[in-house]
C-alpha cells in the first residue's frame, strides 16, 4: 500500500479556545432539546395541525418524526467523522464546497436567530401572563429585552451552565405539560363538541402533507448539538447520538401530546380549538385556573431555554465563520476564563432582541411576531438541512466511504426537504403566509451575496471554509505523523 507521506498535523486545532471535552452526553443532549423547545411545541403545534389535517394528525406526526429521523441520520454521517463547531454549516462545506456551505450556513444563522427571536417573544408573552400583566407590545418588548440579556449572560458564562439550566427548565416544563394533559384527560368530558367534525375530518393526501410540513417545524433545532464538537466529551459518539435521540424522544412526546389533544378537543367547542392555546383554554373552562398558570410557567421556561440554546448555537456558527476568515477575526476570539465565543455571542444579542422590539414598535402584535419569526426560522432550518443532506453522499464519495444506503438516504431526505420547502414557501400552510417567504428571502440575500462576492473578489478567504476540531500533533501516537513546522 502506498502512503501519502505529505500529511502534516498542526500543533493547535483551528477552533482552539473553547473549553474542550467538558460536556457530558446529557449536557450535549440538552443543547439539542432546548433549541427544539419540546414542551412549547407539544402544547402549540398539535392543535394547529388538527385544524388543518383532522384525523390525519397522528399519521402526520408519525411521518414527520420519521422524516426528521432520516435527516438526523444523514447528519450523523458527518457527526461520526468530524467534530464541528459550525453544525450543519461545517458539514455542508465538506460536501458542497464553500459557496454551498455559506448559503446553508447563512440559512442556518437565519434559522437560529429567528427562532431565538420567536422564543424570546414567546417567553415574554407567557411570563407576562404568569405575572398577571397584559401582554401588550411595550410589556413584551421590556420583558423580552431582560430575558434576552439574561440568556446571553448565561451563554457567555459557559456552555455547561446554560446547558444545565436549559435541561432543568425543559425537564420541569415537559413534566408540567404532561401533568396538565393528564389532569385534563382524567376530568369528565361531555359528548363530542362542535370541534368534533374538524378533529375527525377525513384523511386526504393533501391534509397529510400539510400536517407533515407543520409537524416537521416542531422539530427544528434538533441538530444544534452539532455545534458542540469541541466542548463535548467523545464528540464523535455524543453528538450523533444527541442528533438522533432528540427527534426520537421529541417524536414520542409530540405523538402523546397530539393523541391527548385529539381526545380532549373532540369534546370541545370549536372556538376552543381555534384559540391560540387550546389546552390552556380547556383548563380555564374546566375551572382549573391553577393548571393554566402551570402551563404558562412551563411554556415560558421552555421558550427561555430555547433562547439560550439557539443563542449558543448561533454564536458558535459565527465563531466558526470568523475562524475561517469569512467573517472578521475578532468575532473568533474566546473569553480567556469562560472559554466561550463571547464576542460572537454578544453580537447576537442586539439582533435577537432588536428585531422583535423594532417589529413591536412598528405595530406588530406579539403573537404575530412569535409565529412570523417561527415561520422564517423554519425556512432557514429546512434549507440548511436540505443542503447538508445533499452534501452527505458527496462528502462520503470524496473520502471514499460511500455505500448504497447513505446515497439513497441522503437523496431521499434532500428530496423530501425540497418538496416541503416548496410547499411551505408557496404560503399554503405556515403562519404569516407568503409575507414571511419574502422576509426569509430578504434575510437570506446578504449571505448569498456575501458568498458570491467572496468567490469573485477574495476566493482565498473561502479556502478555510469548513474548519472543524481536526487532529493535531498531540492526538496521534507520537512519532507516527510529523507535525507542521511551527
Amino acid at each position: 500500500m502506498a502512503r501519502s507521506t505529505d500529511v502534516r498535523l498542526p500543533v493547535r486545532s483551528p477552533v482552539a479556545g473553547l473549553r474542550r471535552r467538558r460536556l457530558s452526553f446529557l449536557e450535549v443532549l440538552a443543547q439539542s432539546v432546548s433549541a427544539l423547545a419540546p414542551s412549547a411545541a407539544m402544547v402549540v403545534v398539535p392543535s394547529i395541525v388538527l385544524v388543518r389535517s383532522g384525523s390525519a394528525t397522528l399519521p402526520a406526526f408519525v411521518a414527520a418524526t420519521a422524516l426528521v429521523l432520516l435527516v438526523g441520520w444523514c447528519l450523523t454521517q458527518f457527526g461520526r467523522r468530524m467534530a464541528a463547531v459550525g453544525g450543519t454549516y461545517s458539514y455542508t462545506a465538506k460536501g458542497l464546497g464553500p459557496v454551498g456551505a455559506l448559503v446553508g450556513g447563512w440559512a442556518l444563522l437565519v434559522g437560529y436567530a429567528a427562532v431565538a427571536m420567536s422564543a424570546l417573544v414567546g417567553s415574554a408573552i407567557y411570563l407576562a401572563g404568569l405575572l398577571g400583566l397584559d401582554p401588550s407590545p411595550p410589556v413584551v418588548a421590556g420583558l423580552g429585552t431582560g430575558l434576552g440579556v439574561l440568556a446571553t449572560l448565561f451563554a457567555i458564562r459557559g456552555i455547561q451552565l446554560s446547558a444545565r439550566i436549559a435541561l432543568a427548565l425543559e425537564v420541569v416544563s415537559i413534566a408540567l405539560v404532561l401533568v396538565v394533559l393528564g389532569v385534563l384527560l382524567l376530568a369528565p368530558r361531555g359528548a363530542p363538541g362542535t370541534a368534533a367534525p374538524v378533529v375527525d375530518a377525513p384523511v386526504h393526501w393533501g391534509t397529510v402533507a400539510v400536517g407533515v410540513v407543520l409537524g416537521v417545524t416542531a422539530f427544528m433545532g434538533f441538530e444544534s448539538a452539532a455545534t458542540l464538537g469541541v466542548e463535548a466529551r467523545k464528540p464523535l459518539v455524543a453528538v450523533p447520538r444527541a442528533v438522533l435521540w432528540t427527534p426520537a424522544v421529541a417524536g414520542v412526546l409530540f405523538f402523546a401530546a397530539a393523541a391527548a389533544q385529539v381526545v380532549l378537543l373532540r369534546a370541545a367547542p370549536l372556538d376552543v380549538l381555534t384559540s391560540q392555546v387550546p389546552v390552556a383554554e380547556l383548563a380555564d373552562r374546566d375551572g382549573l385556573g391553577l393548571l393554566r398558570r402551570l402551563l404558562d410557567l412551563g411554556i415560558a421556561a421552555s421558550f427561555f431555554a430555547c433562547v439560550t440554546g439557539s443563542t449558543n448555537a448561533l454564536g458558535r456558527v459565527l465563531f466558526s465563520m470568523a475562524r475561517e476568515g469569512v467573517l472578521p477575526a475578532w468575532l473568533g476570539r474566546t473569553h480567556p476564563r469562560f472559554e466561550t465565543p463571547h464576542r460572537a455571542l454578544a453580537l447576537v444579542l442586539p439582533a435577537v432582541v432588536g428585531v422583535p422590539v423594532v417589529a413591536l414598535a412598528l405595530g406588530a402584535g406579539p403573537r404575530a411576531v412569535l409565529t412570523g419569526a417561527l415561520t422564517v426560522s423554519a425556512f432557514g432550518y429546512v434549507l440548511a438541512y436540505v443542503l447538508a443532506c445533499l452534501a452527505m453522499p458527496l462528502f462520503l464519495r470524496r473520502i471514499g466511504e460511500l455505500t448504497a444506503v447513505p446515497l439513497v438516504g441522503g437523496l431521499l431526505a434532500a428530496g423530501a426537504g425540497v418538496l416541503g420547502l416548496a410547499a411551505a414557501m408557496a404560503g399554503a400552510s405556515l403562519w404569516g403566509g407568503q409575507a414571511m417567504t419574502v422576509v426569509f428571502l430578504a434575510a437570506l440575500l446578504p449571505g448569498v451575496a456575501w458568498a458570491l462576492w467572496l468567490r469573485w473578489r477574495a476566493p482565498e478567504r473561502l479556502r478555510a471554509v469548513g474548519v472543524y476540531d481536526q487532529a493535531t500533533a498531540s492526538s496521534v501516537l507520537p512519532g507516527t505523523v510529523p507535525a507542521e513546522p511551527v
Partner: protein, 251 residues
C-alpha cells in the same frame, strides 16, 4: 452508570471485536494515511462494516482521522496499550544537559518522560533523590509533573477518573472542579507548581520540554524540601532555558 445485565458476547460480537483489532493492526502496519477502502480490501471485510468499525475506533480515540478526513492514523490512546516497561533509554546528550542544570540549581533536578497519557521518572537527581518516584508516576493529580500531563489532555478525566483523586496528604487537590481550576492556571502559565500535595514538606515545579513540533515529551522537575512553598518557582526561568535545549534531544 448502572451495570448492565451481563449477557456475555452474543451473535456476531466476537467477530466484531476481532475485526476491530485487525483494523488497528492494519493501520499500524500500513502507516498514517491509510484509507477506509484500503483497510476493507486488506481485511476482505464488507465496506459498510469496515466504515462503521473505523468510526467506532475513531470515536474512542484509538484511531484518528487525518485532516483530509479520508486517511487514518493510530491515536494517542494506543500509547497507553503498550504501557511503559524496562529502563527508559535516555541519550547521553540529554543526560549531560540535565547534569549541567544540576550544577546551576541548589535543589533536586529530575527528568520526567511522557507518553501521551503516562509519565516515567527517567533521570532522578542522585544527590537530592525523589522520596518516591512511584507516587509521582501514580498520583498524577498530586505531583507537578502529573498536573502538567493532565493539563495537556483534551479531557483529563479519561486518563484519571475523578473517583481516583486520592487524598495523599492533607493538601492534595481531590475535587474535580478545583483540579480543573489548577489545570487552567497551568495552561495559562506554561508550567506546573505544587507544594505539600504529594509529600507534606516538599514543593516542586515542573517545566515542560516540548519537541520542535510543540508536543509535550518530557518535563524538568525541580523539588525543594522545606517550609517555603514557592522556593522552586524561583528557578523556573533558568530551568526553562535548559528545557528549550532538551526539546530537540527528546522529541
Amino acid at each position: 452508570m448502572t451495570p448492565g445485565i451481563d449477557r456475555g458476547l452474543t451473535g456476531r460480537q466476537p467477530k466484531a471485536v476481532q475485526s476491530a483489532l485487525a483494523i488497528l493492526e492494519v493501520v499500524a502496519r500500513a502507516g498514517a494515511g491509510v484509507t477506509a477502502k484500503e483497510v476493507a480490501e486488506e481485511l476482505a471485510l464488507p465496506p459498510a462494516t469496515t466504515y462503521r468499525l473505523l468510526n467506532l475506533l475513531v470515536g474512542e480515540d484509538y484511531l484518528v482521522r487525518l485532516p483530509d478526513l479520508h486517511g487514518f492514523a493510530l491515536g494517542r490512546k494506543v500509547a497507553g496499550l503498550t504501557g511503559v516497561s524496562g529502563p527508559v533509554p535516555l541519550s547521553t546528550a540529554a543526560r549531560e544537559v540535565v547534569a549541567e542544570l544540576r550544577g546551576r540549581v541548589r535543589a533536586g533536578v529530575h527528568l520526567v518522560l511522557y507518553t501521551p497519557t503516562t509519565l516515567r521518572c527517567a533521570d532522578v537527581d542522585p544527590d537530592h533523590p525523589l522520596q518516591a518516584p512511584e507516587l509521582v508516576e501514580r498520583h498524577l493529580h498530586a505531583s507537578s509533573a502529573g498536573k502538567l500531563l493532565l493539563a495537556e489532555q483534551p479531557d483529563w478525566q479519561e486518563s484519571l477518573h475523578p473517583s481516583r483523586l486520592h487524598r495523599v496528604t492533607a493538601r492534595t487537590v481531590v475535587r474535580a472542579a478545583e483540579l480543573d481550576d489548577e489545570l487552567r492556571e497551568i495552561r495559562r502559565r506554561g508550567c506546573a507548581a505544587q507544594s505539600g500535595q504529594l509529600h507534606e514538606d516538599v514543593a516542586c515545579v515542573a517545566v515542560p520540554v516540548r519537541s520542535p513540533a510543540g508536543v509535550l515529551v518530557a518535563a524538568v522537575l525541580v523539588s525543594v524540601r522545606g517550609p517555603d512553598p514557592v522556593a522552586p518557582v524561583a528557578y523556573v526561568e533558568v530551568v526553562e532555558e535548559f528545557a528549550r535545549r532538551l526539546g530537540p534531544l527528546l522529541g
